[in-house]
């Protein structure tokens, strides 16, 4: 099946052109997304997962330089002008953010904020827009939707605000939803509700979703495929079942073991020694080599490329862990 979105060799660098050095936030990321698929993008802070996501609609343009391609319906979003992006963003490609209180306008009612995008992207009249607004609020599970159009964001709880933000994103029935840590600020009980909602909407509307998160549990419970990022590169990619069930990159494996699940209580947890490298000061070769127990001479000299270990399971490692026995 043809992917709806295809990221090809995306590289994002920050820093002024006059400045002495450029900061490589994302290096050579390639990803495909199919219709109705939920792709998890997981990594620690500073791994470049949010920058990758925000570069898809070009939100990082004004701060940095983008290279590579983001192919959407036969067109390269990176090469398009802001004016030609406008009809696509908010209509075909919608985005939700981590902190709904800063992403929503506190001075406008949620009704105004939902109909705003409908006004820009559809030919509906004012009454039809309001009807659609009630419909989407109802869809995302806000009780008494019709009565809440005139409420302001502060009158909603954290979980309800995130639902409002999803409703705004859904109003124009997008084909792609970009979700940047949508549940990180929420309680586990509310997180479960929101993830269920996103999964159900992806299924019902055949919508592709890229979900950025740092929680492997969220990936396991809601994604179809997952890409693990470390220091600006994808280090492992595959279906959730293969990557989490049989991690081949030592970093993914370390992350899995750092989560206290099915280990005897109050014993020492497995931990990856050291800290992620600074993007200003990247080690030569594999970025994970200084923290890796399996590192060989080759790892500190040569950057490993992302290659298929088996069908649909890729890892960027010179000496990957040996597959399931």
């Amino acid at each position: 099946m043809q992917p709806i979105l295809s990221i090809q060799d995306l590289t994002v660098t920050f820093g002024s052109k006059q400045g002495p050095r450029l900061l490589p936030a994302v290096t050579g990321v390639s990803l495909d997304l199919r219709r109705g698929e939920i792709l998890g993008l997981v990594g620690e802070s500073g791994s470049g997962k949010s920058v990758t996501l925000r570069s898809i609609p070009g939100l990082t343009r004004q701060y940095g330089t983008l290279a590579g391609k983001v192919m959407w319906e036969g067109r390269d979003l990176v090469a398009m002008s802001d004016a030609s992006l406008r009809p696509i963003l908010g209509k075909d490609i919608a985005m939700i953010f981590q902190e709904p209180m800063t992403a929503l306008n506190p001075l406008l009612t949620v009704g105004v904020q939902i109909t705003e995008s409908l006004k820009a992207h559809t030919t509906l009249d004012a009454r039809a827009r309001l009807r659609r607004a009630v419909e989407v609020l109802d869809l995302v599970g806000i009780p008494g939707a019709a009565g809440r159009l005139n409420d302001y964001p502060h009158q909603f709880s954290g979980g309800m605000r995130q639902r409002v933000m999803i409703a705004i994103a859904l109003a124009s029935t997008p084909k792609l939803l970009l979700a940047d840590e949508p549940t990180t600020a929420l309680d586990v009980t509310i997180q479960a509700q929101i993830l269920d909602l996103i999964a159900q909407l992806a299924r019902d509307f055949d919508m592709g979703v890229i979900l950025v998160t740092h929680d492997l549990g969220v990936v396991a419970q809601s994604c179809d495929r997952v890409a693990v990022m470390y220091a600006g590169r994808i280090v492992e990619e595959g279906t959730v079942r293969t990557v989490l069930g049989d991690p081949r990159h030592p970093y993914t494996n370390g992350l899995m073991w750092s989560v206290p699940q099915d280990v005897p209580p109050r014993t020492q947890l497995f931990s990856i020694p050291g800290t992620p490298p600074s993007l200003w000061n990247m080690p030569p070769g594999c970025a994970f080599a200084p923290r890796c127990a399996r590192a060989e001479a080759r790892c500190t000299a040569e950057v490993p490329s992302l290659s298929a270990l088996e069908a649909g399971h890729l890892a960027a490692c010179h000496c990957p862990l040996g597959g399931a026995q």
Binding site: S157, T189, A192, Q193, G217, Q221, S222, L269
Partner: protein, 329 residues
């Protein structure tokens, strides 16, 4: 288990809100946030007690009350038989140390790591002034920070290292009890494991008692001996950590503990989903505070507040139906 080091008895903490002009005009009374509504708890020597609950349930209020950052409206906390709120003692502040979630705001950005530790040592007169540098070196070694750290400012450290400074500061005054409020919540998973390992190791070496407040349920399960589940300022279930996590009795604990996303994709969709959200602590429902979200709620639950009472083979549970639930599974 031995005698409790800290006895919390019927602790209530209320925060009055300012009355708005409209309230005054209409003669309405000021509104009150009831953060803690009668928490009774014993903390035993050498144990780790995990405290879990949704945000706004009062778990941080409880932690802060123990170091007297919040003043209770009623109830007491007894330390060696003395109520800590009646007669403030500098010794108590030495023996109970708190560690906070955000090391950006809990470490003074203009003081070097060495100055931060030296301040704690001199305020409590832990050692003679000429011994201070040696003691700082010892402490840095203890939390596995490099020796040149003493001259650096907090912003020169990573998040995990800053939490190590906070741990070193707490340990510098040789406390008995550590109160860890979301100590590792702001850290990445791989760094989280390092800090948790350090905490477990230090607890064993110094026989520390730890109150571990966190919203990461897997982590609480891992570090705790006992765990308390809090809902709207009340303990709804408390007991041995493995028992509570493996077979929770209270319907709220069941829903909360199953909400932690499992790493196994095969368990997808199996968890019991909790409907609705936490009611506002401004307006706590009568009867069992959980009855609005509970699928088992009966007429009695709406009228009468269940007391926390022991259930055979389990811990203590505040639910009218606890025996039926415990027998059923």
């Amino acid at each position: 288990m031995t005698e409790p080091v800290l006895k919390i008895e019927d602790l209530h903490v209320r925060f009055p809100l300012g009355r708005s002009l409209m309230d005054r005009l209409r003669g309405r009374p000021g509104r009150i946030v009831s953060a803690l509504n009668g928490v009774t708890l014993d903390l035993f020597r050498g144990e780790t007690l995990g405290v879990v609950g949704e945000s706004g349930c009062g778990k941080s209020t409880l932690a802060r009350a123990l170091v007297r950052l919040n003043t209770p409206s009623s109830g007491s906390v007894l330390h060696e038989g003395r109520n800590i709120f009646v007669k403030p003692e500098i010794a108590y502040h030495r023996r109970v140390q708190m560690m906070f979630q955000d090391p950006h705001s809990s470490l003074n950005p203009r003081m070097t790591c060495g100055q931060i530790l030296a301040e704690a040592l001199t305020v409590h007169r832990m050692c003679s002034p000429d011994r201070v540098p040696a003691r700082i070196a010892e402490l840095l070694d203890l939390v596995r920070l490099p020796q040149d750290s003493a001259g650096k400012l907090p912003h020169q450290f990573s998040g995990g290292q800053r939490q190590r400074i906070a741990i070193a500061r707490a340990l510098s005054v040789e406390p008995e009890i550590l109160v860890a409020d979301e100590l590792v919540s702001a850290l990445d998973v791989s760094v989280q494991a390092q800090v948790v390992n350090l905490l477990l190791d230090l607890q064993e070496r110094f026989g520390l008692t730890i109150l571990f407040v966190a919203h990461d349920l897997r982590l609480v399960r891992h570090v705790s001996n006992r765990v308390a589940v809090i809902y709207l300022g009340r303990i709804v279930e408390i007991g041995d950590s493995e028992t509570v996590f493996r077979s929770p009795v209270h319907p709220y604990s069941q829903a909360l503990l199953s909400a932690a996303p499992s790493l196994d994709p095969d368990e997808r969709g199996r968890a019991k989903r909790l409907q609705g959200e936490l009611p506002s602590p401004l307006n706590i429902p009568p009867g069992c505070p959980f009855h609005l979200r509970c699928s088992l709620a009966t007429e009695r639950c709406k009228q009468e507040r269940p007391a926390l009472r022991p259930v055979a083979g389990r811990g203590q549970v505040a639910c009218h139906l606890s025996e039926e639930i415990a027998n059923a599974n």
